[in-house]
Amino acid sequence: MYKQFDEILTRINDGKLWDFPGGVSPQGKKELSNTTDIDRLPLPKELYVTVKQHIGVEGHVEVEEGQQVLKGQLLTKSMNPFAVPVHAPTSGKIKSISPHVSAHPSGLPKLTITIEPDGLDKWTEMTPLSNYTELPKIKTVEAICSAGISGMGGAGFPTHIKASPKKDVEFLIINGVECEPYISSDDRLMREHAWQIRQGIDVLSHLLTPKKVIIAIEDNKPEAIKAMQVTCQEQDNYIVSPIPTKYPAGGEKQLIQVLTSREVPKQGLPVDVGVIMQNVGTCFAIADAVYTGKPLVERVVTLTGEALNAPRNVWALIGTPIEHLLKQADYQEKRQRNSKVIMGGPMMGFAVASEQVPVIKTTNCILVPADKELPEIGDEQPCIRCGACADACPASLLPQQLFWHSKAKELDKAQDYNLFDCIECGACAFVCPSEIPLVHYYRIAKSEIHNQELEKDQADKARERFEARKLRLVREQQEREEKHRKAAEARKQAMSSDKGDAKDKIAAALARAKAKKAAASDEAADASPEVTGKQDKVAAAVARAKAKREAAKQSTDSEATTDTAEQPVDKKDKVAAAVARAKAKREAAKQITDAEATTDTGEQPQDKKDKVAAAVARAKAKREAAKQSTAHQADATTNDMQQTDTDTSVQAEPTQPMSKQDKIAQAIAKAKAKRDAAKAQQQEQDEK
């Protein structure tokens, strides 16, 4: 099964290639766009450079809004090996750094750097590596990475990673297959810039030292084949291999199968079978980066489709909005009933969400089909199990079974049928007589599985952290108990050694506590504006807010009591809290009848600090009002205190009828008792 190098080489030299199963032959339609030279476009008004345009990690943005940048200037940077930087596609001003509609099927916004061109198109300083063969290879790899090159064929895998594999490379395959209908950007690039592509291949070949370099081009592009043959003739190690036209021959796995009969093992990489594959566009960009030091700031994009009056290939700056390209290609809106623009080809491309979607490094085609050209898919009919999809599948999957299981959300079964080996080439849906959007079902299933796995990972992490926290709490509890025990022992010893002194000390402590308590109740009771202690105010605000909530759900609140039990609370604060709680109860009750006015009129803010506290309290009160239904308990207990004004609070007027004092005291006592009960409960629990 696993063919050896020599055997493969003989067959490639003889032009007797292998085949991959399945595949389809849609109409090529390349002649729409491949007859004219690659065109240059005027600068668009704005450029939207998406920060992450490849598979991997995004870099950190290195520029600021309003900053002036030069063409080719680094915009992002990262030390992560899977990060690829982006560069300013032209000189101009950074207008904004914010999310912008992305070149992704979802169209969901991604972080994007918007640049307003200044029209000068002035390059930054460039550092070519023309003597790269004499430098260590790592320098060249670095140059490729810092030029921001990622696979330009479709997936956008960072090129520098593929250029420094950890295994031996037998074949370096240059993919100029371009099997998707309509697209002709690689075709034109090979015809017009074969020489530079060869330079790029030279660089790669220097880095990878493959035994053989194969340039694979579909046989429907004779001019490109000719051009590449001419430029590669002096390199013995290079061979241009025309391959039969069949979709999806340009898929990485399929092309490897056609050329070498080897199959990339599941979850493996091409290098596992001794192959590295690069797109011709990538080679062109590599040559740019190494020989001239130019980063990847533009690429060839095919503008095609019968709804365009001037279809052709153009050099588009990365970040060019679709709108600009459509205008340049003379988009005829009336030829489409529903405006629809496809980024990529008709088989694997996606319909973009808006005309503000920018060109990114993987954008090879903008397809704007007329209505009759690519008619909308009809209604889904029942599957008649004809098996046409299985015959078309290049991965030898059973699309039908995948479809049943994906549709029924039997995700594990879909995975049994190797859902993740589907390359989403669309051949199955292309041939389906029942017009079932098969690939769409697979995508949904795949994303669901991905999300489930993600959730599972998160759940595992959460469980781990939860368990760790539990252990920590137990440990802390033990430590605390140990400390208490030791302290008690020490006290005992001290007491036994000097009884009188200890007694005095206790008495002193008690007195101190009492004094503090008195002061606190004072403060709380006629809390006057003079109270300026920041600490106390915050504490009071805290207590008040908490109390309010407690009032709302007196009986069930265990969390707060736990807190108080755990932290020995300052006596003073406790009292303040109790008082405030009582007040809060009243407020809550009041809210039922009279929502905002009461609290507003009740306060006379003294300073800024108080204002904040008041605002917080007000917010709480509002929430309380919303929770009215649960507040009825509080209502019942505080009815008799309705008359007591807001006077006990920090921000209230310091007048108060004496007759109410008792009631307040009563409330304090009540609150205390409650807390004691909660404490007792807590102790009980602890004992358990």
Binding site: P105, H440, R443, S447, K461, A462, F466, K470, V616
Partner: protein, 183 residues
């Protein structure tokens, strides 16, 4: 006499089959996680306590001991279905007494309002809030399970539960304008 031989034959057969079965039971024994582990695997591990138990593991214990499987709002119907499959019972709708299924959320602290009380840190079941006393706190949104437990203790009410936004990576291909209509 015939009866005797019949009985002997039957007994011998029974013995042989018994031995075979006994051997098979040992030889082909299926090692599986204890039930509680399996249930705990299914639960979403938000540790939110909405089920009435202090965490997912205790609820898993409770389910194993016969409690209802429909008390987990964060897990929602999907979790109930999986639990039903595992326990071999009918899936029932979520018990509304414990809350309703909601989109996934994470806690977010409005940092300029935070007074640094550490109450939310103590409340967080998965240690996903970072901060120290009198210092501003912040939520590690990657670790946050969206359990809601930090919202209540916050004295200044500066914690919001923010729905997790869809990103291109988590997007589930909801192209609403592809009406897939079954004929």
């Amino acid at each position: 006499m015939t009866i005797f031989w019949a009985l002997v034959a039957l007994s011998v057969l029974a013995l042989i089959f018994g031995l075979i079965l006994g051997y098979a039971a040992i030889r082909f024994k299926v090692e599986s996680d204890p039930l509680v582990e399996q249930i705990d695997e299914i639960l979403p591990q938000t540790q939110c306590g909405q089920c009435g138990y202090p965490g997912c593991r205790p609820y898993a214990d409770a389910i194993a001991n016969g409690d209802d499987i429909n008390k987990c709002p964060p897990g929602g119907d999907a979790t109930i279905k999986k639990l039903a499959d595992l326990m071999g019972v009918e899936a029932k709708p979520l018990d509304a007494a414990h809350g309703e299924e909601d989109v996934k959320k994470v806690a977010f602290i409005r940092e300029d309002e935070c007074i640094g009380c550490t109450k939310c840190i103590q409340a967080c079941p998965v240690d996903a809030i970072l901060g120290a006393a009198k210092q501003m706190h912040t939520v590690l949104s990657e670790e946050c399970t969206g359990c809601d437990l930090c919202v209540e203790p916050c004295p200044v009410d500066c914690i919001d539960m923010v729905p997790v936004a869809d990103t291109p990576a988590s997007w589930r291909w909801q192209l609403d304008n592809i009406p897939i209509k079954q004929v």
